[in-house]
């Protein structure tokens, strides 16, 4: 009985390879891009395709990866979070602010035990995420504008905390996770991998994850199904902020310093990783798997461009063009899928 039904189900699937490929375009295109870029750089530079360099790439995308976990939730809900880099920065600065600094650091900070510093920093980013959530759901400010304001607020808090100075010390746990390694593998890579895996498990196997996809797929229908849409949207904004905060703390340890505007490039990188990976900007499609592919595309691109002899100013333009191409594919894949579903 069960087997006959599965056979039937298989028979009822869109027939042929072409429709299948078309409906899977969003997943295939980023993967092909990754393979193409890797092959290109491997061919262009002998130093690219080495185990050492793979380690480099992994380390280089780790902070982006941690931030992108939360952002994937947000974009799956068809919202956006522009405050991720700002929150990462302020959380990194906060954890240093609550740590005893060397005497030459001229910041009027409040040294606390390491655990307290970490908890306070996480509380701070969660609080900022909560403000985003309330602005979006209770007041009804579009997330684009709300998080734009939060980006500025976070930058403002950062500025007040460090006042143009640089702090260096963070709690030892953070130092280890950010810049230490175990058995040759950097801790930061392990943390990023665990968080990506956790995000994937939550999205795929939990009720909350299903709700995220459904709210992104059709918000009106989610509401008519009796889901608490505002609660779900609020939750993803907080998740995003906390992921950003963790990325910020580890990032500060990784770079060895905490200062203003340290994470500015991570806003674009994180959004790019999610979108290049193929998660739909219209919500409801994609996931952490896509984000991982997107991270590798970005990582390979950034790293590979360093291995080939290329004008470093041209690199910026190339990155922009790759992002544009990914956006085109993203929108196009959505259209193909809608057509396939007709």
């Amino acid at each position: 009985m069960a087997s006959s039904e599965t056979a039937l189900a298989a028979g009822q699937r869109p027939r042929g390879l072409a429709p299948f490929l078309r409906s899977q375009m969003r997943n295939i295109a980023p993967f092909l891009t990754l393979i193409f870029l890797s092959a290109f750089f491997a061919f262009a530079s002998p130093s690219f395709a080495t185990l050492d360099n793979l380690g480099n790439i992994l380390t280089q995308v780790s902070v982006t990866g941690i931030i992108a976990v939360g952002l994937t939730f947000v974009i799956l809900c068809a919202e956006i979070d522009l405050s991720i880099a700002g929150i990462a920065n302020v959380t990194g600065i906060a954890v240093a602010y609550f740590t005893l600094q060397e005497s030459y650091v001229n910041i009027a900070n409040i040294p606390l035990p390491g655990a307290a510093a970490i908890l306070l920093a996480i509380a701070l980013c969660a609080l900022l995420g909560l403000v985003n959530a309330l602005g979006l759901t209770v007041i009804g400010i579009p997330s684009f504008i709300m998080t734009l304001a939060m980006m500025q607020i976070a930058a403002g808090i950062s500025a007040l905390l460090v006042r143009g100075q640089i702090a260096y010390k963070v709690p030892s746990l953070i130092t280890t996770l950010g810049s230490g390694s175990i058995g040759g593998i950097p801790w930061i890579v392990i943390v990023a991998a665990i968080m990506l895996l956790g995000g994937h498990l939550v999205l795929t196997y939990t009720r909350f994850g299903r709700y995220v996809y459904m709210v992104g797929g059709n918000r009106e229908a989610a509401e008519y199904s009796g889901l608490n849409v505002k609660l779900i949207l609020g939750a993803v904004m907080v998740i995003s902020a906390v992921c950003s905060g963790i990325g910020g703390m580890l990032g500060v340890a990784h770079f060895g310093s905490a200062q203003q505007n340290e994470f500015d490039t991570y806003l674009l990188d994180s959004i790019a990783a999610v979108v290049v990976g193929g998660t739909s900007l219209f919500g409801g499609r994609g996931g952490i798997g896509n984000t991982i592919v997107g991270l590798f595309v970005l990582g390979v691109l950034n790293n590979g461009l360093d291995h080939v002899n290329i004008d470093s100013f041209l690199k910026i333009l190339i990155r922009g063009l790759i992002l544009l191409a990914a956006l085109i594919i993203n929108v196009y894949a959505q259209r193909l899928r809608e057509k396939a579903a007709e």
Binding site: L8, A9, R210, N218, G226
Partner: protein, 500 residues
């Protein structure tokens, strides 16, 4: 009537399948200029699919497609449009935030030689066009502020006057009042005189017989009959549609129907002096367990708003709600669901996830009942399979994307979401709109089953037949106020219309 002119459109041996399910099998169809061609068939019989092929919406199919005797293949709706084919879809597709005039001229606004829109000219011409159709509205008012029936008429008017040679109307009369239907028919007849070919799809067989020259009947993706309207009857068509004797299925409800004695079972919902801005005034009523309460009224009488308030989607300005005697103020639809209230709105689009499989659509409202943290997909599929079997949803494949189902089957999925763990109160808006006889009957039986199980059911409809076929007690809503209650007394379509 139909003369022996060469067909403007000819389809030969059309076959189309969705995900392996054949929606059309070897269908021939021809259309002549100056002909109104009626199409009837149950939901999923293939009418809409065939029309979407003609309108260029579905571009992949097998068979021959000839226009003016020439082999043609449309790749998009735009191609079809260029060839003079226009279609009004079953679901309203207007731009509610634009003005009436902008909607009428959507896509070809009149411009001056600098390419700027000529607003005054556009408003004037839109007003004139609509006046020809008997619609008197300010062309500069926002379309979304008008009642749904009027919006639909405006959309139809836009298509009819677009200069198309072939016009396809899919279920155009379901949201229209009787005088509006008359106006539509008069316009269709005039266009027929001018040589336009019109395809008219409807579940209202009287309408089809009244206005069309030829009728084609579909069943299970095949064309089973084509006859001159004058040479057939409603009974014969219904029989061809469902393939069995159909006399008993379609009541006309012109005779008096006796409502039962009011139930004295427990009060599930008590509504007291509910009011909302200009839409609702001092609404008070009760719904009891094991009772179907019908609320009838014309389009825009406040039904929609009332249903939204009951499900926590809209907040009333005043008044109270009590479920099982406990006062409730629903902060969200989630709160209403927890209190045991369920709603099936009139628009499937609002209720369903078209890009998700059927089983996820069915399980979404009950996930918290079957899983606390982790999903249980196997159980979800089991539940969905049971519902699909019980409601006879076709095709019976729970893994299929919802968008691949026909309209009537989607409607059943919308109902199925609430049936695994029945709520205390089920609010149904237009539960049988756009459905064929067979599916309507299925829904009626489902609702009766639920009543027998002790649910309180509220059916809100603008179709007297829907309310009459389901309700034990009927309230009439007129301009936001309850004006009449029918209980334990004879009621008929005439009496309802009179009260409203």
């Amino acid at each position: 009537m139909r003369e022996d002119r060469s067909p403007i459109l000819e389809l030969l041996g059309i076959t189309k399948s969705f995900g392996g399910v054949e929606a059309l099998r070897g269908v021939d169809f021809a259309l002549s200029p100056g002909e109104i061609h009626g199409l009837v068939g149950e939901n999923g019989a293939g009418k809409s699919t065939l029309m979407k092929i003609i309108a260029g919406v579905h571009s992949e199919f097998s068979g021959r497609f000839l226009i003016d005797g020439k082999e043609t293949h449309f790749r998009s709706a735009r191609d079809a449009h260029a060839a003079g084919i226009a279609m009004v879809h079953q679901e309203l597709s207007v731009a509610p935030d634009l003005t009436v005039a902008e909607n009428v001229f959507l896509g070809n606004q009149p411009t001056n030689r600098f390419g700027l829109v000529q607003w005054r000219r556009m408003a004037r011409e839109a007003g004139e066009q609509l006046a020809r159709f008997g619609i008197d509205v300010d062309p500069m008012s926002r379309l979304g502020d008008l009642p749904i029936g009027l919006q639909q008429l405006i959309e139809i008017a836009r298509v009819l006057f677009s200069g198309a040679r072939i016009v396809i109307l899919d279920e155009p009369t379901s949201a229209l009042s009787p005088p509006e239907v008359e106006r539509l028919f008069a316009t269709l007849r005039r266009l027929r005189e001018e040589g336009t070919a019109i395809v008219f799809i409807s579940h209202f067989i009287e309408d089809i017989l009244l206005v069309s020259d030829t009728v084609t009947v579909f069943r299970n993706g095949r064309k089973v009959a084509e006859t001159a309207s004058a040479a057939t009857s409603k009974g014969a068509l219904i029989e061809a549609m469902i393939g069995r004797g159909g006399e008993a299925l379609e009541h006309s409800y012109t005779d008096d129907l006796m409502l039962p004695r009011p139930s004295d079972s427990s009060v599930v919902l008590k509504v007291d002096q509910l009011s909302l801005a200009r839409s609702l005034k001092d609404i008070s009523f009760e719904a009891r367990a094991g009772e179907v309460l019908g609320i009838y009224g014309f389009m825009g009488c406040g039904q929609q708003e009332l249903s939204r308030i009951l499900f926590g989607k809209l907040k009333p300005d005043g008044g109270t709600l009590a479920v099982d005697g406990t006062p409730k103020t629903f902060a969200s639809t989630a709160a209403a669901r927890r209190a045991g209230v369920a709603l099936v709105p009139e628009s499937r689009r609002d209720m369903l996830f078209h890009q998700e499989p059927v089983y996820k659509n069915i399980s979404i409202s009950i996930l918290d009942r079957i899983s606390s943290l982790l999903l249980k997909p196997a159980q979800e599929r089991d539940i969905a399979r049971r519902q699909v079997e019980q409601l006879q949803i076709r095709p019976p494949v729970v893994g299929l994307d919802l968008g691949m189902l026909s309209g009537g089957n989607q409607q059943k999925v919308a109902l199925a979401k609430w049936l695994t763990y029945p709520p205390k109160l089920l609010v149904l808006c237009e539960p049988t709109r756009g459905m064929d006889v067979g599916a309507k009957n299925d829904v009626i039986n489902i609702v009766r089953d639920l009543r027998a199980k002790g649910l309180a059911v509220i059916v809100l409809s603008t179709e007297p037949e829907t309310v009459l076929s389901l309700a034990d007690r009927i309230l009439v809503l007129k301009r936001g106020a309850l004006v009449r209650e029918f209980k334990n007394e004879p009621v008929s379509k005439d009496r309802l219309l009179e009260a409203a």
